[in-house]
């Protein structure tokens, strides 16, 4: 790692072109927003936890490919092992969320993974909000997919 004075502009601007870096800065937020939109509409439209997670990982892969594997590690100011450990924890947390979202209906007297839809009326600004309990399971799937794929990508990147 060079000293801060003789860095060109960013230590990660190595072999990628300025076109690739600019397009990445534009595309990554759009990709993440699309991923969240697909996650939220997944209970009654195409989308859901899996494709939302895959798109989130696609944004991460774009950052990894263009800026290198050290960029994310230096940005969050942690070691690579700790970052992979955080991905593993995300994977485990997602599995736990999915399992708990399946077990909660059993506590309330239903079958495993029973889902319901609530409509909250008379809200300010929204007036009516649709709350689907399938979103909790979708969130678990999302976190599991993001964690698992990021562990794979990061481990392959460090090879």
């Amino acid at each position: 790692m060079s000293s801060p004075e003789d860095r060109p502009r960013s230590p990660y601007d190595r072999r990628t072109t300025v076109i690739a870096r600019t397009v990445t800065r534009l595309v990554v937020p759009i990709t993440l927003m699309t991923a969240v939109a697909l996650l939220l509409q997944g209970h009654n439209l195409p989308g859901g936890g899996f494709i939302g997670g895959v798109l989130t990982v696609a944004a991460f892969v774009l950052v990894y490919v263009i800026f290198g594997v050290e960029y994310l590690v230096d940005t969050v100011n942690a070691s690579g092992d700790r970052l992979v450990g955080a991905y593993r924890a995300l994977f485990a947390f997602g599995l736990a969320v999915a399992l708990v979202s399946g077990l909660v209906p059993m506590v309330l007297g239903g079958e495993f993974l029973t889902q319901a839809v609530f409509f909250i009326h008379d809200l300010p600004l929204y007036s009516e909000l649709e709350v689907a309990t399938a979103l909790a399971f979708d969130l678990g799937v999302y976190l599991t997919v993001v964690g698992a794929l990021l562990v794979i990508i990061a481990e392959v990147g460090y090879e």
Partner: protein
């Protein structure tokens, strides 16, 4: 969102033009497939595969316009992002030899 879009199908000149564009895109994808299989060098295949991805995005959007089924736009959005990422990854592989460094 989907129930509002389900009723709007293209009619008249729009339907004609959209159908023509669909046939054109499908034929183009077929011809580009020849370049994917025969293409003498790897960059030929990469450009051809990128064109296939772009054409599939176009076909999805045109089909959404023709039938009024809005979720095909979601399909095209996801396909466009994945196709873009794939092209960048393969280009890195061809030029540098490793994708993530």
């Amino acid at each position: 969102m989907a129930e509002a879009a389900a009723a709007v199908t293209a009619t008249g000149i729009v339907a004609l033009l959209t159908s023509g564009a669909l046939v054109l895109s499908a034929l183009l994808t077929l011809f580009v497939g020849y370049r994917v299989i025969r293409g003498p060098t790897t960059p030929d295949r990469v450009v051809a595969l990128d064109t296939v991805a772009t054409n599939i995005v176009a076909i999805a959007v045109l089909y959404a316009v023709l039938t009024g089924q809005g979720f095909f736009v979601d399909v095209s959005l996801v396909l466009a992002i994945i196709g873009f990422l794939t092209t960048i990854a393969v280009a890195r592989y061809v030029t540098d030899g490793d994708i993530i460094e």
